[in-house]
Symmetry: C2
Subunit: 325 residues, 2 copies
């Protein structure tokens, strides 16, 4: 798998953004650690998901590429597949629940995908997908239960190590487990990181439960604000995580919001709730031997519609409750 991850790095060279690593004196002083934030919110389409989607789609056979690909997602994976398809010249079809935010639908269409709406249930998504695959011969690009997607996701960590050197620990958020699988596999197989932690909302703690009980325990309909982390582990990601991850750290909703606020207000970067979860977890890390820590800030796709709608103009003067006038 290490070889496959290195191949993925080569495949993404010059196509994915080499995202910057951020640091904060304030954060280091607060935690007593040396924290390196891998800013995948600056990745193309705003999240690490591009790495996996492109890596998987670039390896399809000519026949598969010609037939096109399909996925079901209302989140970052939809945009990742759409953008990778645009770059690779592959037709992309995204099945989205009919209650998905219009802004996400528009962004996906903007990258050139065809969006097919379905009822907002897991069953309807899968049935719609399967019917289209049967009819048109599309290849399914699963958001995380896919080895090439995982290997692509792993390149965020290999790139981080190339930027800052070996680490005592790395923390990645865990939803479906694709990012954590790739992160942990690279970390342990390359022998560049001692400890790997998953960071998960308490309100969507299926990975924590599955990890502790050593069996796959999916969750239904979790409500965490970290919308990217509401999915459950798959057999593939559960196996990799069980093998390479040292522990799963869970965090409360308030801890997620506080971490997000620190990233926005102090570090001046927009990170979505899911991407702030590793920082919330790092603040709870209680290991004196861990000094040099990498955090994967997975994405930055936040809809700021209402925030910017709060700007109003009276007689040519702009007013906003967060700004003095």
């Amino acid at each position: 798998m290490l070889n496959k991850i290195l191949e993925a790095s080569g495949r993404l060279e010059g196509i994915a953004n080499k995202t910057p690593v951020m640091t904060s004196r304030t954060l280091n002083a607060e935690t007593g650690m040396e924290i390196y934030l891998k800013a995948e919110n600056f990745q193309r389409m705003g999240a690490f998901k591009f790495r996996g989607a492109f890596n998987a789609m670039a390896q399809l056979s000519p026949h598969q590429k010609k037939a096109g690909v399909i996925t079901h997602s209302s989140g970052n994976h939809a945009q990742a597949v759409a953008l990778a398809g645009k770059i690779l010249g592959i037709k992309t079809v995204i099945v989205m629940p009919n209650n998905a935010p219009i802004v996400k639908k528009q962004a996906t269409i903007g990258y050139g995908a065809e969006v097919i709406e379905c009822e907002p249930t897991q069953k309807a998504r899968e049935e719609t997908c399967n019917a289209l695959i049967e009819k048109y011969g599309y290849t399914l690009i699963h958001p995380y239960d896919n080895q090439q997607v995982i290997e692509g996701a792993a390149t965020a960590t290999s790139e981080l190590i190339s930027q800052v050197g070996k680490l005592d620990a790395v923390i990645a958020p865990v939803g479906g487990g694709g990012l954590l699988s790739g992160t942990s596999a690279y970390a342990k197989l390359s022998n560049t990181v001692k400890y790997v932690y998953g960071a998960e909302p308490e309100m969507a703690d299926d990975a924590y439960q599955s990890f502790k009980q050593k069996r796959l325990i999916p969750q239904t309909n979790p409500k965490t604000i970290a919308d990217g982390l509401r999915t459950s582990l798959s057999p593939l990601t559960f196996n990799i995580i069980t093998k390479y991850v040292d522990d799963i750290i869970t965090v409360t909703e308030q801890e997620i919001i506080q971490a997000m606020r620190f990233l926005w207000e102090r570090m001046k970067i927009i990170v979505e709730p899911s991407g702030a979860v590793p920082l919330a977890a790092a603040r709870k890390l209680n290991q004196t031997e861990i000094k040099k820590v990498g955090l994967i800030l997975s994405g930055g796709n936040v809809d700021l519609k209402s925030y910017f709608h709060d700007f109003s103009t009276k007689q040519g003067v702009i007013y906003h409750k967060d700004f003095l006038t």
Copy 2:
């Protein structure tokens, strides 16, 4: 002056952050230019102001350093002086209007400054400052009418050129004119940038008026949302700008908000309204010969209090109008 700017760069080495340069495929496609955004929102204390304050204070005589410094500001310059004082071991006193936001007062005190409140008028600020200087022998560190402050500010541009090479044009925001003075002087004296533009809100267009009429025309109490640009040029900055700047581009309040929203939503960086003004101006630049353009994003200090207060918890579930649950 070029030598002094290079000296300032050396002085700030390892003390100021070497801030990253950001690019956006979307923005380049939109404008037909190659745009390099110098992200001074990632500078220490969140704005380019640190460069000037530190550069000026580091050059004080031992006697002046021992006596301490004073300034009047409710904005980024206050925090810049406070932080530079902390690093250099110089006592700092900041005169602030008694209606300044508590968060700014706290941040300044947090960096170790003594804050003295006064009535919220220009006259009260200056009188309070002068009385304290008379009594305690403090040295005034003016936010922009100060040659060393200007030379420090210029290092943002010299650093940008070292990162991306020569430019066709550079655009800096203009309030009191310290940043634009330094930017334009470095650009022209080093012969690394062909055209230099100031970017200014229409609602605080004293630099535009002064530049066009070739005499200093201060403004009173402008209402632009770009709070860092409400000040007027000083004799010193007016002279430098007249000499080295090619034009001043004014922008509306809506154009500022739109630029800010692009930086937040698409580029994932928090930039304050003043810092978004150069992007708004770049979008109005109508010069076919200009391809490679640098923008100085001056700072990112925004109070997100009300935004984060909009997160509320009901039965353990977080709700926010900008997030689905």
